[in-house]
């Protein structure tokens, strides 16, 4: 499933605000661990923010092996 542009855009906006990174520095294929300078625990924290934003529940395993925004958006899109 291809993530809608809007979902991807919302994720990028949210990540930028939450981790205080200029939005223009984030792109959909970025490795968010690297771009945001976060570890796996902080990535889980991001997942919680995304759950609240999209009003869905995302099991931790949805983040397993995912390190770019586009794939993350696809996982979220599948649950919307």
């Amino acid at each position: 499933m291809t993530a809608s542009k809007q979902t991807l855009e919302e994720i990028l906006n949210l990540a930028a605000v939450h981790f205080k990174v200029p939005r223009e520095k984030l792109t959909s294929d970025d490795d968010f661990f690297k771009t945001l300078g976060i570890d796996s625990l902080q990535a889980l924290d991001l997942l919680t923010r995304l759950e609240n934003h999209f009003h869905i529940e995302l099991p931790d395993y949805e983040l397993q092996g995912v390190s770019d925004f586009r794939t993350l958006a696809e996982r979220i899109q599948a649950r919307l």
Binding site: D31, F33, D39, S40, L41, L44, D45, L47, T48, E57, P59, D60, Y61, Q64, G65, S67, D68
Partner: protein, 569 residues
């Protein structure tokens, strides 16, 4: 607790535990703020025995191998007990590995049965290697209704009426095959006996006892040696309770401490650091007056607990901090990777001792552990009872390779006599870790002799295992080293992997090449990625069979290049 000397196998000890404390709670499973499962020892028995009977009817018996791939949850322990009840050998695999890696280790372990969580099974069935699997029966937990299980059975339906036959095992029989690491080139399957586990459990619980009413929070993966012992075997043979969380988001972990009044928890250094950061942040938010008062209390607690922890005193002096952890926390266990002494000291000063230890899958959950008499942040403690440690070839500072002998040392590496012979020499397991004993018999660690790193998350990463990601990289040759192996730092910090490149004649290191490296690096899980690269000016020395002579190469690199030459990725 049960007297483990009278048992020859884990199955028998666990079976007696279920009868000894029928009304005590043994398992709680929560998902976010919802409690999903709460089982007494008697309930546990009721759920596990029909599974054991179904395994029996499916032909599973003594010595047969069953793998488990699941996140931490009650079904993990129930399944493991059913396997032990039938005299089986458990192969606990890391759920964080990829599907291809799971299939590789399933094949290597020759597991006939697999008990697996649905989302992991789904990934396994989609893997190109799936068609070659040799599993005879697969049980899948929590599969959605109507899901295609590719021939597997639903765990929840896989049960039969009637008493299963209990198959006892001898102490020298194999209990588990645990992969310490290595999925790329050479899987390292540690064959651990019933005695290994019974003896580990005995010595650990002697130092940190469990009892009915203790609530252990299970966060580390249960396939990992530490959680398997202190999040399953240890609590069960003492009538204690294990709390599982289906999500490890920091906020739910923090809530769980309070909701379940956690007594013990085992953590990897990364989570410990995260807790420290959180607490320090909260301290900073206090008003100047309150902060001053808090630091006075911490100083007072520190002076009163200099010789040994005094739980009651600390809880009174620093009640607010202790309430954050539920008010019943007695100690946190950590190990598997380097922990900053300042972090250990931070928690100890708050009256929450961190029992820092040293262990490895091959030789026991814990070989040394801080006994807190008194607390030491700069060591990994003294050897546990029954564990003999020796420093091989010590240098002028007394630092040499740590070797271990004792009843907790594994039997061998599965199907790898060569590696076994290199690792266990005259009954002593050489660990590859550098250490020395201080005047008080405490072990201090100083880095690694072997080419590997241990991440803050407690994962062993062998460079050779991830080199294939760079296959076809447009350079003459390449290999990966652990930086601390190339340049021994006599320190366990600053661990990273370095990609060593030998360029073609007249080839230049271009941006395009860098991008290619970065892109390939991203295919690796974050904890396995290389941190930097290094361009080397000569051909790699190789054996007649074209294997890289790593020792020789490392020696030459040391001569011509320093750590500063590494370019970070």
């Amino acid at each position: 607790m049960l007297n483990l000397d009278q048992y020859t196998c884990l199955g028998a000890a666990l079976r007696d535990a279920l009868d000894r404390w029928p009304n005590e709670t043994c398992l709680i499973e929560a998902d976010r703020d919802r409690e999903k499962t709460r089982l007494t020892y008697s309930d546990f028995k009721e759920v596990a025995l029909p599974l054991a009977r179904a395994l029996e009817d499916a032909g599973f018996s003594s010595g047969d191998r069953a793998a488990i791939i699941m996140t931490n949850q009650s079904k993990w322990l129930i399944s493991a007990y059913a396997v032990f009840y039938r005299g089986g050998v458990l192969v606990p695999l890391d759920y964080k590995l990829t599907a291809g890696e799971h299939l590789q280790l399933l094949a290597h372990s020759k597991a006939q049965f697999l008990i697996v969580e649905y989302y992991l099974w789904r990934a396994i069935t989609r893997s190109p290697e799936f068609k070659n699997h040799k599993l005879t029966k697969v049980l899948v937990t929590e599969a959605p209704l109507g899901a295609d299980l590719a021939g597997a059975y639903r765990w929840e339906d896989f049960r039969r009426k009637g008493d299963p036959a209990f198959n006892p095992r001898e102490r020298e029989d194999v209990a588990c095959i645990v992969y310490s690491s290595g999925t790329g080139g050479r899987p390292k399957g540690c064959v651990l006996t019933q005695e290994n586990y019974l003896e580990q459990c005995k010595s650990l619980t002697a130092l940190y006892p469990f009892w009915p009413g203790v609530q252990y929070l299970s966060i580390l993966p249960t396939n990992h040696a530490i959680d398997f012992m202190v999040g399953f075997i240890g609590p069960f043979v003492c009538g204690a309770c294990v709390v599982h969380l289906r999500t490890l988001r920091p906020e739910f972990v923090r809530d769980a401490f309070v909701r379940y009044k956690i007594t013990y928890v085992a953590l990897v250094p990364m989570i410990l650091k995260n807790l420290e950061r959180g607490l320090r942040g909260k301290f900073d938010e206090l008003s100047a007056g309150k902060r001053f008062l808090l630091y006075r209390m911490i100083a007072l607690n520190k002076s009163l607990t200099r010789k040994q922890p005094k739980v009651g005193v600390s809880r009174k002096l620093l009640s607010q901090v202790h309430r954050e952890f539920g008010g019943e926390l007695r100690a946190m266990f950590t190990g598997g990777a380097f922990v900053e002494p300042s972090t250990l000291q931070f928690f100890y000063d708050l009256g929450i001792p961190v029992a820092n230890g040293y262990g490895l899958t091959e030789a026991g959950t814990s070989l040394t552990l801080n006994d807190l008499k008194p607390f030491r942040a700069d060591t990994v403690g003294k050897p546990l009872p029954g564990v003999e440690l020796r420093i091989l070839n010590p240098d002028s500072e007394g630092i040499g390779e740590v070797a271990v002998h004792g009843k907790t040392v594994m039997s061998h590496y599965l199907d790898d006599p060569e590696l076994t012979a290199q690792t266990i020499v005259d009954g002593w397991l050489v660990t590859g870790d550098l250490g020395r004993f201080d005047g008080n018999g405490h072990l201090q660690l100083f880095g690694r002799k072997k080419n590997m790193i241990v991440t803050e998350g407690g994962k062993n990463i062998y460079p050779e295992d991830i080199e294939n990601v760079f296959d076809g990289l447009p350079v003459k040759e390449y290999c990966i080293f652990a930086a601390n192996y190339l340049w021994p730092a006599k320190s366990l910090g600053r661990e990273m992997l370095v990609l060593l490149l030998r360029l073609e004649q007249n080839q230049e290191f271009t941006d395009a090449l860098k991008e290619e490296i970065v892109s390939r690096n991203r295919r690796l899980p974050d904890f396995k990625r290389v941190g930097g690269y290094l361009v080397y000016g000569k051909d790699f020395p190789r054996t007649a069979s074209m294997k890289i002579k790593r020792n020789e190469l490392a020696e030459d690199i040391r001569k011509v290049l320093g750590r500063a030459a590494v370019v970070e990725l």
